[in-house]
């Protein structure tokens, strides 16, 4: 009862505010959209839905993305994101933007989402992706939400074709370990594990029986001595203890026998078709491992 009264107040307040501050862009938002029922003023509040929306939305359809989308250390589309109005995930600012569709991720603050729903905004939520099939489902969902299913199908078709081609790359499978900041790794049931698999690499975290994101103690990594160690290059300009483990002499010594691949955090965060570039690079790193081993074989 009280809640309903409260939301009525909010609505009244909103009308007042909207009347007193006419917002820019209201008239031009619908320009290129042919489907009259399609959302015309879309706001995305999550780093990953930001990127999918930018890839799928029609010109002018997407109005605002989260401020993280323009952070190059997290986003793959930082440059494109600057064309949109940034939001900081606050219900208040999103309310004032008067969207007709709000895209949120599973990580978006629950209370914020609940409030926006109570205020009557259409909200579409995208679950967290732990596999390629989760990613496919989310891309389809985005296509439907934005009334652009054909664009979603197009992206998926290209991804599938590229992936099929990468899987045909020659060379034996190799073992690999993901070694992220604070000695974390990704095991069974993670997107990162699928990426490694697709690149022809066997994840040692899986051999250790780790699932999800889990600690991989440095000494276990050293003992396992995988063919390839994939570490994180992000934040080199801003040091923290989390990355000190990359400078550990034991890890350095491991490089004498294993190959090392570096990849930035932003490439692993979101399940988007950009993953294909990551798989391509890892696959190339796998090929490089082959040559190192050949060299040591010929030396013997």
């Amino acid at each position: 009862m009280r809640l309903r009264q409260l939301s009525a107040w909010y609505a009244a307040l909103g009308v007042l505010l909207a009347l007193s501050f006419p917002l820019p862009g209201i008239a031009s938002a619908e320009s290129d959209n042919r489907d009259p029922t399609a959302p015309r003023r879309v706001i995305s509040m999550n780093l990953c839905t930001d990127q999918l929306a930018m890839m799928i939305a029609a010109p002018g359809q997407l109005y605002s993305v989260s401020n993280l989308a323009s952070d190059p250390s997290m986003s793959m589309m930082a440059k494109q994101a600057r064309a949109y109005k940034p939001n900081h995930g606050l219900a208040e600012e999103v309310f004032l933007m008067r969207p007709d569709l709000i895209l949120v991720g599973a990580m978006t603050t629950r209370t914020t989402v609940a409030m926006l729903e109570r205020l009557g905004f259409p909200v579409v939520e995208f679950p967290f992706e732990n596999s390629f099939s989760d990613m496919r489902a989310n891309i389809k969902r985005m296509g439907d939400a934005l009334h652009r299913p054909e664009r979603a199908r197009e992206l998926l078709a290209r991804f599938d074709a590229d992936l099929a081609q990468l899987r045909k790359r020659p060379g034996p499978r190799r073992t690999a370990a993901l070694f992220h900041a604070n000695s974390y790794t990704s095991g069974v049931g993670t997107l990162a594990n699928e990426v490694l698999k697709a690149a022809g690499l066997d994840n040692i975290a899986v051999q250790f029986g780790l699932s999800g994101t889990a600690k991989l103690p440095l000494e276990k990594l050293v003992m396992a001595a995988p063919d390839l160690v994939v570490t994180d290059t992000t934040w080199e300009g801003a040091p923290a203890l989390a990355q000190q483990v990359f400078a550990h002499p034991a890890l350095r010594a491991l490089e004498a026998t294993s190959a090392k691949a570096m990849s930035a955090t932003n490439r692993w965060i979101c399940a988007t078709p950009h993953l294909i570039d990551l798989i391509r690079d890892l696959s190339a790193a796998r090929a490089a491992v082959t040559t190192i081993h050949d060299r040591s074989a010929t030396r013997q």
Partner: protein, 334 residues
């Protein structure tokens, strides 16, 4: 009647305990390596062998730092208690550890350490020196328990807030989470480079405190009597301040702030040495090392996957002990 244990026997027992725990620490870790394998690898393995790598580059520095950091905390706790004639004095409670953390945080997160590795211990111990001087200043000439503890609380919260600020200002998202490390301490994944960086400073600090035995004994009877016994109080103050700041500063710069060791250890040892401040020094250093090694073995056994912080364990033992001490010394506090 107090019947303290014969001093040489006590030293021998404590030394044996430290050596035993050092060995156990070397044998504890997530990678299952056999007893003989690990010892052989430690002594005569080849440098590229994985077991040797684990033993020499991961477990050995961790065990060495366990001994050195624990000894520093125990020794400085005994020295501070003797000098301030106060059973509640301890590097953690007086804000020395928190300030050293702040110094280390400034060195690491500004990237200064990458250019100049020595800046890590140096900045940490400089901040620790400032902390000791500020606590002395705030508490005034008198070193009664209440004003010391209040001064320590003030310095600790200020240093903690500045540490949090420095970590929050870092663009690295991991930095903000590392406040836990700096407040509670850990020896996980330390390397020999940390030993070489902080070890010599700790040794220098120990040296400064080791020669204070007579002076601390004389201070049992107060400053006026100590002075009349030929003790130069300015020299004693300089040695305690710098010795404590240098060893705790260097220790904290590679392990984070670990509380309560310096408080608990001298109290456990005091009845065993007949309360003599000079005899408390070596015994507290040894039992500090034993306590920290035990805590570090325990965090690896209790929660091998979750990087439990050392300070959590020392606080579990130390905080109730601290409360008990407050109740015991309440008369002097009020």
């Amino acid at each position: 009647m107090t019947v303290p244990m014969p001093y040489p026997a006590l030293i021998a027992i404590l030394s044996a305990l430290v050596i035993l725990l050092f060995g156990v620490s070397l044998l504890t870790g997530p990678a299952a390596i056999g007893f003989t394998d690990s010892l052989v690898a430690l002594v005569s393995g080849s440098s590229t062998d994985a077991v040797t790598l684990v033993m020499r580059e991961i477990r050995l520095p961790r065990a060495i730092l366990g001994v050195m950091v624990g000894a520093s905390l125990g020794l400085t706790g005994a020295a501070l208690q003797g000098y301030l004639r106060n059973p509640l004095a301890e590097p953690g409670l007086l804000g020395i550890s928190a300030s050293a953390s702040l110094g280390a945080v400034l060195a690491i997160y500004t990237g200064l350490v990458i250019v100049l590795p020595l800046s890590l211990p140096v900045l940490a111990l400089s901040a620790a020196i400032v902390a000791v001087l500020v606590v002395r200043l705030l508490a005034g000439g008198r070193s009664d328990a209440a004003s010391l503890i209040l001064a320590g609380v003030a310095v600790t919260s200020f240093a903690g807030a500045m540490t949090a600020l420095a970590l929050n200002l870092s663009p690295n998202p991991f930095a903000a989470l590392e406040i836990v490390y700096w407040m509670l301490g850990s020896l996980a994944d330390r390397s020999m480079s940390h030993v070489w960086l902080a070890g010599p400073f700790m040794l220098v600090g120990w040296g400064m405190i080791a020669i204070l035995g007579r002076s601390l004994d004389a201070l049992t009877l107060g400053e006026a009597t100590a002075k009349s016994l030929g003790i130069r109080l300015d020299r004693v103050q300089a040695l305690v301040v710098f010795g404590t700041a240098i060893s705790v500063g260097a220790a904290t710069s590679v392990s984070g702030a670990i509380g309560f060791v310096g408080l608990v250890v001298p109290h456990l040892m005091r009845p065993l040495v007949g309360s003599r401040p000079s005899r408390l020094l070596l015994t507290s250093a040894l039992s500090g090392a034993a306590l920290l090694l035990t805590a570090d073995i325990a965090v690896r056994l209790i929660a091998p996957d979750s990087d439990l912080k050392l300070g959590v364990l020392t606080a579990l033992v130390g905080a109730p002990f601290f409360l008990w001490l407050i109740i015991k010394t309440r008369r002097t506090l009020l």
